[in-house]
């Protein structure tokens, strides 16, 4: 007896449905997503000048960028895809010229046409802003010689030298494309206004309360966005955000919750929520002030590093704080990151902590700094600054150091570091796109990287960095990175890198389409999210 074809077809369909993983569910159209923005309000809406997620989480859904990390795989540290361009270009001119073809038919929310002129002008303002205009990441684009629109559909970037750092820098999530006419008329207009070409159009902004958007029907990525609307609610206090998620007043928060909140909500809400987690391209670093004795002595700095048991401390801390993975100066998920074996040769990562602490004590004695008393400058932010600070002080106590924690609000924290009025500072190196060559610029001397607060002069460090920056062979870049890392963390111990942060995103179960990335700045246009209601 033969089985009718329709029965086979039905069985096949049923099997297909049964084995289809959750991520392959067909997105549903419609609905309004309410999400939480962990801030009081953004300082401005101009992403070119700002450095905070408050601006990204508020307004990224209203803008386009030239290229970006893949929305369907934002965890990748090496892949980049087009947003406004049509195809990722192959570099020409020995790796010094990148030619981008721009999509046709893209419209700004005011109905005007977006052309290559708008893309080129936006990038010119980012790379080389006119006087009086701030571009927070200008230093990322030192390699760029010029940006030109050769016609309405072509943008050409010419570089001073070929470098692997260029494309990741170009995928910067802050590099929103603005309208040329507006920028040229008033370069500050975008600080208080929102008008882009992204998946959502702004409906209203209530200062410090909420920001509301609706679906952009003219969006150029067909079928997107899935949602009819979005509402971002500002909630700076963690307890408020946790309560909002618990009570279903909001569906998701994109920065990251601490482990305690995750444990509490998953225990209470069960399958009504999901959790995604990832290493975070952010980490705390300890910066000894080289201008202050005895921190001008590399033996003392090395002793500080040797006292800290990272391999045992990180897993324990991960239960109470947003930190987890031990790493060097490069984000642990990157191919350029040190392996565990490579790290274990560096001060502060030795596998035998007793031996490490014995060496620390020996170095302190040799430097005449036994029982050293000093202050650790820290930021008044619980997660993870104060948790990590408390842990580190406990570790230092084990080699006889007497350390007092000086916790100050963000303003004085920065001003103390900028004025050099501290002994050792708990800093953070927080980046967006994983771009190791640029991310590690933080460890360069203050005279070439103003946001380094160690106040050391070190020409060899600059030489090592420049050699790596101008290298294009991946194997040689990696070797150069190891040399730079060993010099920075071991030989000189200019800085002490602590466990990388850990991003925990918790959403209500009806929120689908979210893919976690190693940065809270990435993949925030919300176009691929949908509601299973």
């Amino acid at each position: 007896m033969s089985v009718p074809r329709c029965v086979w077809a039905g069985l096949g369909l049923a099997a297909a449905i049964a084995i289809t993983p959750a991520w392959a569910e067909t997105p549903k159209q419609g609905g309004t997503l309410t999400y939480l923005i962990p801030a009081d309000a953004p300082p401005s809406f101009d992403a070119h000048r700002e450095t905070t997620y408050a601006t990204i989480h508020s307004a990224a859904p209203y803008y386009s960028v030239l290229i970006r990390v893949p929305p369907d795989n934002p965890a990748s540290t090496t892949d980049f895809v087009c947003d406004l361009c049509t195809e990722m270009p192959k570099p020409t001119d020995g790796g010094k010229t990148y030619t981008f073809k721009i999509r046709q038919g893209v419209k700004f929310h005011d109905g005007s046409k977006l052309t290559a002129q708008d893309v080129a002008t936006s990038w010119q303002y980012i790379v080389d802003p006119p006087k009086g205009v701030v571009s927070a990441r200008k230093s990322f684009y030192e390699m760029v010689d010029s940006v030109q629109a050769t016609d309405d559909s072509t943008v050409v970037f010419k570089l001073k030298y070929p470098t692997t750092a260029f494309l990741p820098a170009l995928a910067d999530p802050y590099a929103w494309i603005y309208k040329k006419d507006i920028l040229e008329k008033d370069p500050h207009w975008y600080e208080k206004n929102i008008m882009g070409s992204g998946p959502f159009k702004l409906v209203k902004y209530e200062v410090g309360q909420s920001i509301t958007g609706e679906r952009n029907k003219d969006y150029y990525h067909k079928g997107l966005p899935h949602l009819d609307g979005i509402v971002g609610i500002y909630a700076a206090k963690q307890s408020v955000r946790v309560d909002a998620l618990r009570a279903d007043r909001a569906s998701i928060e994109f920065r990251g919750l601490p482990p305690s909140a995750r444990d509490q909500l998953t225990k209470e809400l069960g399958d009504k929520v999901w959790v995604q987690d990832s290493d975070w391209n952010c980490g705390n670093i300890l910066t000894p002030n080289h201008q202050k004795k005895p921190f001008d002595d590399p033996r003392v700095r090395k002793a500080l590093a040797l006292a800290i048991d990272q391999w045992h401390g990180a897993p324990a801390l991960s239960k109470i704080a947003n930190v987890r993975t031990v790493g060097g100066i490069v984000f642990p998920g990157s191919p350029l990151a040190a392996t565990k074996q490579e790290l274990e040769k560096i001060a502060g990562y030795w596998p035998d902590i007793e031996k490490s602490r014995a060496e620390a004590k020996r170095l302190l004695k040799e430097a005449g700094a036994e029982g050293l008393k000093f202050e650790l400058l820290n930021r008044n932010v619980d997660q993870p600054y104060k948790f990590v600070g408390t842990w580190v002080i406990g570790e230092w106590k084990k080699i006889g150091l007497n350390v007092e924690q000086k916790v100050v609000p963000t303003g004085p924290w920065f001003s103390n570091m900028r004025a050099g009025t501290f002994d050792v500072a708990m800093e953070a190196n927080c980046q967006s796109v994983v771009n190791p060559v640029l991310d590690t610029g933080k460890y360069l001397p203050h005279k070439v990287f103003p946001d380094n607060y160690g106040y050391y002069d070190d020409d060899k460090s600059i030489q090592l960095y420049e050699a790596m920056q101008k290298e294009t062979d991946p194997a040689k870049v990696r070797a150069a990175m190891r040399a730079y890392e060993t010099w920075t963390l071991d030989t000189q111990t200019h800085e002490i890198v602590l466990p990388y942060w850990y991003r925990i995103i918790l959403g209500r179960s009806e929120v689908k389409g979210f893919k976690i990335s190693p940065s809270h700045y990435l993949n925030q246009d919300l176009s691929s999210l949908w509601l299973d209601k």
Binding site: Q264, A316, I320, N380, K386, T390
Partner: protein
């Protein structure tokens, strides 16, 4: 014609009673019998004070030592009050926290009280423009609630035990000064002050040796109340992250941040420091009330 009755020798019981009233021990016993609640309050405060002083001998563990093998252990044999999120022994941190609370509580209360008393008496003594200006300054300072002014002072001077003592001392000065001035104004009218001036005594001698001793009663009452207020203010500042800082043991700090996070999973992290604050402040308040009743002639026999 008046009848004079011969006096008789007092009975033994009366003698003892009289003696009790005139020795320090006797006064203490008398106070304890007449004011049992105040006595309990004093005992609580003294217990915490002694715990703070003897913390090095009482605490079974180093209060600042992280022990990741014992994170958030419930109260039991090894850790009688459990451990916190860093694996630190809560009993040890409470005992050392008592030291912080007493340093701040007594430091700020005594500092603010003495400065306030001297300024209050001086203001009453000199009167005139000096009194006017000083009282307006007091008005300005008293316009702010204690904790708000302390917050402002901490934000200027920074955190740490010493700065917290200063931050709490400053708001207490006008509060003491205003009350003491009222008493000193009455003392100022008594002829012996004029007599002292007529004898050529200096202002400092008159203020410190003749007026201050006569306003000690309200001062002592205020002092006992200030101890409780200062301990509470220190706990509040630490709770807000503006007092002493980790890893120093302080009750308010123990209630901060993670105690909220673990309120359901490890409630002992918040319960015990909360209890310590409540008991100490209650103890100081009960003692202060009883002291006021004992010193105030109108309330003495109630």
């Amino acid at each position: 014609m008046a009848v004079i009755t011969p006096t008789t020798a007092p009975a033994d019981d009366d003698t003892e009673a009289l003696l009790r009233q005139h020795t320090i021990l006797g006064r203490i016993i008398n106070f304890a019998r007449r004011k049992p609640l105040g006595t309990i309050g004093l005992i609580i405060v003294m217990l915490f004070a002694v715990a703070g002083i003897c913390a090095d001998w009482i605490a079974p563990f180093d209060p600042e030592e992280n022990d990741f093998a014992s994170m958030m252990v419930a109260p039991g044999i090894d850790h009688i009050l459990g451990t916190d999120q860093f694996g630190r022994d809560i009993f040890s941190r409470l005992v050392y926290g008592a030291r912080t609370a007493m340093i701040v509580g007594f430091g700020a209360a005594v500092g603010g009280g003495i400065i306030g008393m001297v300024l209050g008496v001086t203001s009453a003594y000199f009167g005139g423009w000096f009194d006017l200006v000083l009282q307006r300054i007091f008005d300005i300072l008293m316009a702010f609630p204690l904790i708000i002014l302390a917050l402002a002072v901490v934000s200027v001077f920074g955190t740490g035990v010493f700065n917290v003592v200063i931050a709490i001392t400053i708001p207490l000065v006008p509060r003491c000064g205003r009350v003491v001035r009222a008493s000193a104004l009455a003392v100022r009218q008594i002829p012996y002050v004029d007599a002292a001036r007529a004898l050529g005594f200096g202002h400092a001698r008159i203020v410190l040796c003749h007026m201050v001793p006569n306003v000690l009663a309200p001062f002592l009452i205020l002092l006992s109340a200030f101890v409780g207020q200062a301990i509470l203010a220190e706990a509040s500042l630490s709770y807000l992250g503006l007092g002493v800082q980790e890893p120093v043991a302080a009750w308010g700090l123990m209630l901060q941040g993670s105690a909220e996070d673990y309120a359901t999973t490890a409630p002992w992290i918040a319960i015990f420091p909360g209890l310590a604050i409540v008991l100490t402040v209650l103890g100081a308040s009960l003692f202060g009330d009883a002291l006021r009743d004992a010193i105030d002639p109108k309330l003495r026999d109630r």
